[in-house]
Every structure is written in structure tokens, then in C-alpha cells.
């Protein structure tokens, strides 16, 4: 029978915390950039200009059709070369974190754009029409009247997607970047305590994500009340 031994965890906590900071950094950047770019994509998709809406539809269905792992591998391959060419960086610069952020932001934007599109469509037409009748330009009406309401209506879904995104950041493992999971794996591998470290990592993710989902559910109930 396997003897569980948790003694390597306390000493590894600072290293794991470094990893957690990387996970959170990627999550926050990807949420911000993803919602921003996703909203633009949603606007393009709903725009009367056919070329724009086709372009956005193509982007969204492309990113929704391929696995996140594959997208990340592409970005770890392409982005460093691209950035080095454009910015003239040396080969020693570690661009894995930047690549991960760009990859997650562009990938999640496809999912955020679907949420924002539904959000924009959930705002009644009269709102936009009233804003136009008041003399606002279409973009003003969108920015000042429709989008704030769309954002508010979709906030629970945006937050739920953020929790999924946080879980997905563990996939930067494919680039050997030491995010929280990568750090846990490395420590476990080094100390021959992979079993304990994996269970510990799972427990940490579980506590964070279920607390966050619980908060979102409560928030959603308050919003509905």
C-alpha cells in the first residue's frame, strides 16, 4: 500500500506561490484583453457591413473549432519568432509568458464574443432607438447605452467563463512554463512525491474555483432579485 507523505509541501509553498502568481497573471490579462477584443468581435459580427461580420464569424468559428492545446502550441511556436523579428529581441529572452498571454487572450476572445453578442441582443431594441432619437451617433448609442446594459446582463456568464479560463491556464504545462500546476508537478517530480503534489494541486484548484463559482451564484441571485 502506498504511504502518503505530505512533508515536501510546506517547503515548496513559496515556489508554488510564484507559480500561482503566473497563473493569475495570465488569467487577468486574458480576461481583460479577451473581453475587450471579444466585444469588438461581437460588434463586428452584428454590424451591417457584411465583410466585417463574415470576418468576425470566421474568427470565432475557427478558434472554437480547434483545441486550446493546439492553439497554445501554435502561439508558443509563432509568437516568439514574430516578436523577436518585430522588436529585435535576443534569443535568450523568455517569451513563453507573453506567448501564453497572447494565445489565451485571442482564444478566449472567441468565447467572450459569443457571450457579448448574446448580451447585446438581450438589450431591447427600444433602448438603441431611443438613444438615436435623442441625437446620439450609432457608436455613442452603442458605447453609452447598449454596451453597459449588455455587460451588466452578462456579468455572471463572463465571470463563469473567467473561472473556466483560470482552470485552462494549467494547460501552459505544454510549454513547461511554471504556472501553479507546472510548479506543483516539478516539485512532485523532484521529490518523488508526485502523488501528493497532484492531489494537493487538485485540492487547491477545487477550493479556489468552487469558492468563486459559489460567489458568482450568490451574485447572480442578488442581480435577479
Amino acid at each position: 500500500m502506498y504511504q502518503l507523505d505530505w512533508s515536501s509541501i510546506p517547503g515548496a509553498l513559496p515556489f508554488l506561490w510564484q507559480g500561482m502568481k503566473i497563473s493569475l497573471e495570465i488569467t487577468l490579462v486574458a480576461i481583460a484583453a479577451g473581453i475587450f477584443w471579444g466585444t469588438i468581435l461581437a460588434l463586428m459580427r452584428l454590424s451591417p457591413v457584411r465583410a466585417l461580420s463574415l470576418l468576425a464569424t470566421g474568427y470565432v468559428s475557427l478558434f472554437r473549432s480547434i483545441p486550446l492545446v493546439m492553439v497554445l502550441l501554435w502561439f508558443f511556436l509563432v509568437v516568439p519568432t514574430l516578436l523577436r523579428d518585430v522588436l529585435g529581441l535576443s534569443h535568450a529572452t523568455d517569451l513563453r509568458l507573453a506567448s501564453a498571454m497572447v494565445g489565451f487572450a485571442l482564444f478566449e476572445a472567441a468565447y467572450y464574443s459569443e457571450i457579448m453578442r448574446a448580451g447585446i441582443q438581450s438589450v431591447s431594441r427600444g433602448q438603441a432607438q431611443a438613444a438615436l432619437a435623442l441625437g446620439m451617433r450609432p457608436l455613442q448609442a452603442m458605447w453609452l447605452v447598449v454596451l453597459p446594459q449588455a455587460f451588466r446582463n452578462m456579468l455572471p456568464l463572463l465571470l463563469t467563463q473567467a473561472i473556466i479560463l483560470f482552470q485552462d491556464t494549467s494547460l501552459v504545462y505544454v510549454s513547461a512554463l511554471a504556472d501553479f500546476f507546472g510548479a506543483a508537478y516539478k516539485v512532485g517530480d523532484r521529490d518523488g512525491r508526485l502523488v501528493e503534489m497532484l492531489l494537493f494541486a487538485g485540492a487547491v484548484y477545487f477550493v479556489i474555483c468552487s469558492a468563486a463559482s459559489f460567489a458568482v451564484r450568490r451574485f447572480q441571485r442578488r442581480l435577479a432579485a
Partner: protein, 243 residues
Amino acid sequence: MGPLDFHVFLQPVPTGETTYLGWLLQGLRTTVLLSACAWAVALVLGSLLGVFRTVPSRALRAIAGAYVEVFRNVPLLVQLFIWYFVVPEIVPGGERFKQIDPWLQQFLASMFCLGLFTAARVCEQVRAGIESLARGQRNAALALGLTLPQTYRHVLLPMAGRIIVPPLTSETLNVFKNSAVCSTIGLLELTAQGRQLVDYTARAYESFLAVTVLYLLLNAAVLLIMRKVEARTRVPGYLGSGR
């Protein structure tokens, strides 16, 4: 980067028994087989759990609720590593598991991981489907003297099962996409074959392009099949149910 050169796919692999294209197709086959098996596990377990979430018994509801909570709040990658590295160590009989063919070990761990992960999502869809039915259906069936299992078997599940086909389409697509995560434990499915190709041929762009196109085709094929299923199972008068 130089110009793309796809001739590399027709060259034989170092062991000589197939070409690099053959490797990719083997990977595709593993991806399809794995996803199909995992999907079967998810459907069976997910339906059962979904029913549990709607029965009067508080204990069963709590079990299914806890299951969903756990499997939804731990990243898929972590779950996969736990199935592959942890479970065989701490579960009795794990020693025998570690003696079987490595490919089968990877495949079984991936299948159960992906299946059990997806079951939590299927469970929520089944629950939503059952709850979307008018309360009168359950009450009428019970009033007619059907037992609870009979009510589920003959009244609730036949309707709910058809209503939730459209949301299950996106879950089906998710299974195929999520199967790429299994490349991390060394299972040679499509993504892993793509990475192996990069290692052997140093043709990163061509390899990733080919893998991406294969995923797109796979996605389109699954979507096409599911649209057929949706058309056949649509409940007349239940327009746009689910999405």
C-alpha cells in the same frame, strides 16, 4: 521561415513501416476512438447523475451535486494526471494496471478521465432538460399509478432526452477538442503525433497546419452528424429548445 513544403508528409518514418502522413492518420484514429469511448461513458454516467439530481431522494441529489461540483472545479489536465499518476498508486489493484500495455494504460486513463469529466456537464444538461418539462407531466404519471422509475422511463426521459440534443451537440464537440489534453500523458493522439512530427522533421509550420486542418475537418464532420441527429430527434412544437 522558409516556404512551406508539404512533401515531407510522404517521406517514410525512421522505422520505415509508414509515412509521416500515416502517423498523422494513426493519431486521428486514436483521437476519434478515444473521444467516442469517452462520450459513451459520459452519456451513460451523465444521464444517471442527471436523473439523480431530480429525484425526491435527498441523498441521491446530494451525491450527484457533489460529483458535479468536484469534476467541474478541477482543471481537466489535473484530473488527467490524477487518473494516470495517482489512482494506480493508491487504489488496490493499481499494481496490475501498471503491468498492462503502456498504450492501453494511457488510453484507459484518458477515456475515464474525459468520460467522467464530461459526465458532469452532461448531468447538468439532463437535469435542465428534465426540469424544463411541465411539472404536470411528472404529477400526471404518478397520479396514474406509475412508479417513480416508470415515470422516468416512460414519461420524463423520452421527452428530456430529445429536448437536450442541441446542447449535447456542443458537448460532443467539446469531447473531441478536450481529447487533445491527453497528449500530455504521452497518448499518441492527433496533437501528440503533430508534436512528434515537429521533433522528427523540424517542419513545425507544416505539421501544425496539417493537425489544425484535421481538427477542423473532424469538427465539421461531428457537427454534420449531430445536425442529422438533431433533425431526427426534434420534438414537433418545441421550437428552438435548448438554444
